[in-house]
Amino acid sequence: MGIVIQAAAYGIVVGAVYGLIALGLSLLTGVMKFLNIAHGSLVILGGYISFWLFKLWGIDTYLSIPLVIIAMFLVGLVLYKLALSPLLKLPNIGMRIDTSMLITFGLVYILDNAMTILWTPNARSVVTSYTGESLGFLGAKFSVTGLLGLGVAILTAVALYFLLSRTYFGKHVRAISQDAEAASLCGINVHRTYLISCGIAIALAGVAGVIIISCYSITPNSGLSWLLISFVVMVLAGEGNIKAILPAGFIMGLLESVSALAVGAPYREVVALIMFILVLMFRPQGLFTKRG
């Protein structure tokens, strides 16, 4: 029993990271109809920024989050201006999804190789005074970094939820994701809302990167494996269902860690993809969406 709880303790932190990555992804796909294959690489970039802030200026990983958010928000703005906004001229949404996939696939190679040049292919992690410390609970050990990461992920997801449900900006985002043309007829500046949403989505990726470098380690090309499972989480939550994304991340993380116990760690991704296929077959609207 203890070993299952221990696995769950691990899984819930991993799940929180999946949830954060999927939040950014679904903001991009839901609002702008961009499928961002480079999202994983941007997660890793966020991790490296935090790594540098720690190495060069001794800024603690979790305290570096506001700086990482600002830096990654700017990266998001540049990404939108250079790579994604030209796609809005395409005549239909299907072409926008396809082309954004191709472009961001290319971006994966650019980013991964640039990160290899800057930070070498070696695995990097941050060791702070509290790394390795843990708290005992229900006979399992919860690492302090994991608990902090979990807290940050929940806070971030709640903040995003309030931003989208309570603010004028959030209403604009939701209006645009339902009908961009009608939104522009209501006087909403669609391009500016896209720009800011893209910044927010990439900033979320940065936060996920910080949690990863504090709890685990990163290499320049580890983005795609995080991304793959986050895509499954996004589908699990259902389209446009922001509230369900973090819980879906937890489910995925728990499923992964428990299945690692049952069938062995190398099959983690297999389990995730079987889950993906099952959801698409039986509940294509997502686990948490009521209407079909």
């Binding site: 004028y168 043309e181 939104a183 209501c186 006087g187």
Partner: protein
Amino acid sequence: MLEISHIDIYYGELQALWDISLTIGEGEIVTLVGSNGAGKSTIMKAISGLLKPKSGSINYDGICLDRLPAHRIVELGISMVPEGRRLFTQMSVLENLEVGASRKTTKEVKHNTIGWIYQLFPILMERAGQRAGTLSGGEQQMLTIGRALMSQPKLLLLDEISLGLSPLMVQEISRVIRDINKSMGLTIFLVEQDVYMALSMAERGYVMENGRIQYQGDAKALLASEQIKKAYLGIGPTEKRAK
């Protein structure tokens, strides 16, 4: 107030409008009628900035609208009720109205505007918390008009508001629109397939066929003219009927 002069519009390679000119004066109700596919909605899209004319120009109070994006045109005081309602169905009635007031100056007075719209359409107040997708067709149409009024426009464009509504609902909505026009001097440009309803509401009318304007003039005169009767109202020449 609004002057369209000699515009041509293309969808890709396909020309949809040929040499369209029309004017709308302040405080007027002007209508544009014609059969399905004549290009009425295309003109609406050109005024509201969703489509750009290839040649010709659209002027509004001396400002050229040709190169402006749709949201800037709303800021200038032109608001459109799009064909097919296009509500944000997953959002509440109140949220739909709020999204209509996106401009800073209208945002500040949005509570007053919402109060006014609830007076015009009391049913919307009852349904305020409900998701827009759950409203009936008529209520949805009222909400779209309410949403368009939230930006406090000077010119209101109405695209096919009678579509799919019961005659009673059409009457009710056109009464409200006439009221707003009379009491506030709001200029109305009405695009309709329901030729009788549109021409009896409006002061002046334009009749479109195959991307061109065929007839124009006083709405009452158009309604009485033989060509219009024959082509759109399903009434033959009066002498024939008398026989």
